[in-house]
Amino acid sequence: MISLESAQHFGMKLWLGSKTPGGPDDPEQRRHIAVADAAALRVLIVEDEFYIALDIEALLAGLGHSTVGIAVSADQAVNICERERPDLVLMDIRLVGTRDGIDAAGEILARFGIRSVFITANTDPYTRHRAAAVNPIGFLEKPLAVQSLRAALNTLKGPT
């Protein structure tokens, strides 16, 4: 199962995707769309731990979705959204800097109409209550399981 070449290539390629936007016409993306169970989504990952971000990126790729970038702060997330206009944002709540993920999700929703899925290890009810106010697609628990990620993404794809 451990293929050094493909894994490295895979991770690097997707990471570089944040710098060079990969659209539906990107041949790499097309390959993944073919194995996805539904239409491919362009996703922004907001996560300040790169190991987690890379893991999520790999999960997304496995499901046939593309990552438009990885942001570590709220401001960065907003900037990438402005530039890339992803279909959705996978948002960590605790971020580097003064603003948190709920703040960023709120701004992204308001400015670009892009909804978020919160991926958090934070289970405190007050934070959940705050997060619910920005109309998230859902909440996912860390460590992220592929089934729950697929289910969350399918709810977004379902109505459209």
Binding site: G11, I52, A58, A121
Partner: protein, 560 residues
């Protein structure tokens, strides 16, 4: 120890009970003193009464003796009169009548046959009976001395009388006895003339034990024998004694003998009178005890309620704290209870705060644990991607986990707020045992948690490479690690420079390590990094915003 009492099955008592006991402890000694003083006073009064009884008896005895002496003097004067010497009885009669002028007595002259020759109660020459009391006359004839009779009925008057008799001497013989005969009531008058309080009774009993005179109800008792028991007591008495009077009353009595007549002269007071001070003091004591105890208990009860209510409230407060409820401070008359409840209130707040804090910590712990699990998961995935075999994966993954653990350990020591950059660098170098050939230089900087973790990843990749393939893999190689404080751009710069290393191509030129050092760490810290491959080893430079450094950590240990 009083507390030991409660080991013997005495149940715990309310403070009310202890206050009542306290009041008793204060009251009882005072009551004891009061009762003692009262009874001592009563005793003194009793002794004074006894002294007065004795005094009265002695005074009356003296009065009676004086009266008898006066009679004796009158008789002895008459006994030497010329008329008597001349046997001129008519003249003597007249003389005797004159001598008696002021006295309610009779003077009688008898001869040796006890025949009355004259009697002042009768005219001279009237026919006279023999004396009704020959025994006393007999003693006078025999003793040639003055004698006083006991009580007898007068031969003429038939009334109770007594005689004072003196001899009439003619040379050595006693042809006549001169008698002054008194009615017993004369002594009764004398007794009554002594002013005493109404309950006092004085009396005279003759040598035969017959009542001769009495200050009260004289006519009723005169001539009656004294009760046998009382007579025996009176005869034996040296001091005041208690007995039953002829009237059947309980009495306190003193008896003194008349020196002249040998009669028993008594002064008595009823026991109810003499004991009055004692009874009064007992009554006082009872009232005192009753009042003191009632008042003491009532006051103790009142003050106890001042204390008991706040204490009950404080107890309830303590129970409430035990149940984790909030407690308000109390404002009561009892300062200690107020302090107690204030402390309990503060404690309840503190408990609440700690509970909230511990809930926060639990959530935080859960958050970190899950986050770290996600990190470890990602780390495993990335390590797997760069590993050619399971063995290689296990080895690399172990190292990365160790590196992560190092960073965690440092942050744990700083209450999860971050770590000193110096400690972080040393920790990651020590993991590979490569401290000796490294030079570390830079100002003390306290990095925030996110920076610690990410810089830790970079240092781990660099140290791994240096010890396996770089400058530290061969003797003579060195590593210099230096950092500078925030520059004008508010950036912190850290440099890793390997010197005197091998000139072989570094595996860091590609692969995951390359990605970490060129992109991931810089990206995570919102900074920039540069990885260069020089002839003698790797050179890495990282610039990141100084916002990742906390200048004054809240609970940081002082940096050495």
């Amino acid at each position: 120890m009083p507390a030991r009492l409660f080991h013997y099955g005495v149940p715990p008592q309310r403070i009310r009970m202890f206050l009542i006991l306290f009041a008793l402890a204060l009251t009882l000694p005072l009551l004891g003193i009061g009762i003692f003083a009262l009874s001592r006073m009563a005793g003194l009064e009793q002794a004074e009464t006894e002294r007065r009884v004795m005094q009265a008896a002695q005074d009356i005895a003296a009065d009676i003796d004086r009266e008898l002496d006066r009679a004796t003097v009158t008789l002895e004067t008459l006994a030497t009169s010329d008329a008597l010497k001349r046997h001129d009885f008519r003249a003597f009669h007249a003389q005797a009548v004159l001598a008696l002028k002021r006295t309610k007595a009779a003077i009688v002259l008898i001869d040796q046959s006890y025949q009355q020759i004259i009697d002042t109660l009768k005219e001279f020459g009237a026919e006279l009976p023999p004396t009704a009391d020959p025994e006393t006359a007999k003693r006078v004839f025999a003793s040639k001395q003055r004698q006083v009779s006991d009580l007898f009925r007068g031969s003429l008057s038939g009334r109770p009388v007594f005689n004072v008799e003196v001899p009439v001497l003619e040379g050595d013989t006693v042809p006549y006895v001169l008698i002054m005969s008194f009615q017993a009531s004369h002594i009764a008058d004398l007794l009554r003339s002594v002013r005493l309080d109404p309950p006092w009774i004085t009396g005279v009993t003759d040598n035969k034990g017959v009542i001769l005179a009495r200050s009260e109800r004289h006519e009723e008792f005169v001539g009656r024998p004294l009760p046998v028991e009382l007579l025996a007591q009176s005869r034996a008495a040296q001091t005041v004694f208690r007995g039953t009077s002829v009237a059947g009353e309980q009495i306190l009595r003193a008896t003194v003998r008349s020196a002249i007549a040998g009669w028993l002269v008594s002064a008595t007071v009823p026991v109810w009178y003499s004991d009055a001070p004692q009874r009064r003091s007992e009554l006082f004591a009872a009232v005192l005890v009753g009042t003191a105890l009632t008042l003491g208990a009532a006051l103790a009860w009142i003050f106890a309620s001042f204390m008991a209510r706040p204490l009950t409230a404080a107890t309830a407060a303590a129970e409430a704290v035990g149940k984790g409820e909030h407690v308000e401070p109390l404002f009561s008359p009892l300062a200690e209870a107020n302090i107690l409840t204030a402390t309990l209130s503060a404690a309840s707040l503190e408990l609440k705060r700690r509970q909230a804090h511990s809930e926060f910590l639990m959530r935080e712990l859960a958050h970190r644990a899950k986050n770290q699990l996600a990190v470890v998961k990602g780390m495993a995935l990335q390590t797997a991607k760069q590993s050619g075999s399971v063995e290689e994966f296990v080895s690399r993954f172990n190292q990365r986990l160790d590196g992560l653990a190092q960073s965690q350990e440092l942050m744990l020591r700083q209450n999860w707020q971050g770590a000193w950059i110096n400690d972080l660098v040393r920790a990651h170098l020590e993991l590979f045992g490569i401290r000796e050939r490294t030079a570390i230089a830079g100002p003390p900087l306290f990095l925030a948690a996110n920076a610690v973790q990410n810089l830790g990843y970079a240092l781990h990749e660099l140290a791994t490479n240096a010890s396996k393939h770089g400058a530290l893999s061969m003797p003579g190689g060195r590593v210099e690690i230096s950092w500078s404080g925030p520059d004008s751009d508010k950036k912190i710069c850290l440099q890793w420079t390997e010197r005197d290393g091998p000139s072989v191509p570094s595996p860091l030129r590609h692969g995951f390590g390359h990605l970490v050092l060129t992109r991931l760490v810089a990206q995570a810290l919102e900074g920039t990094s540069q990885l260069e491959f020089c002839a003698n080893g790797v050179r890495w430079e990282l610039h990141f915003p100084s916002s990742h450094a906390i200048n004054a950590p809240v609970t940081a240990e002082a940096h050495p």
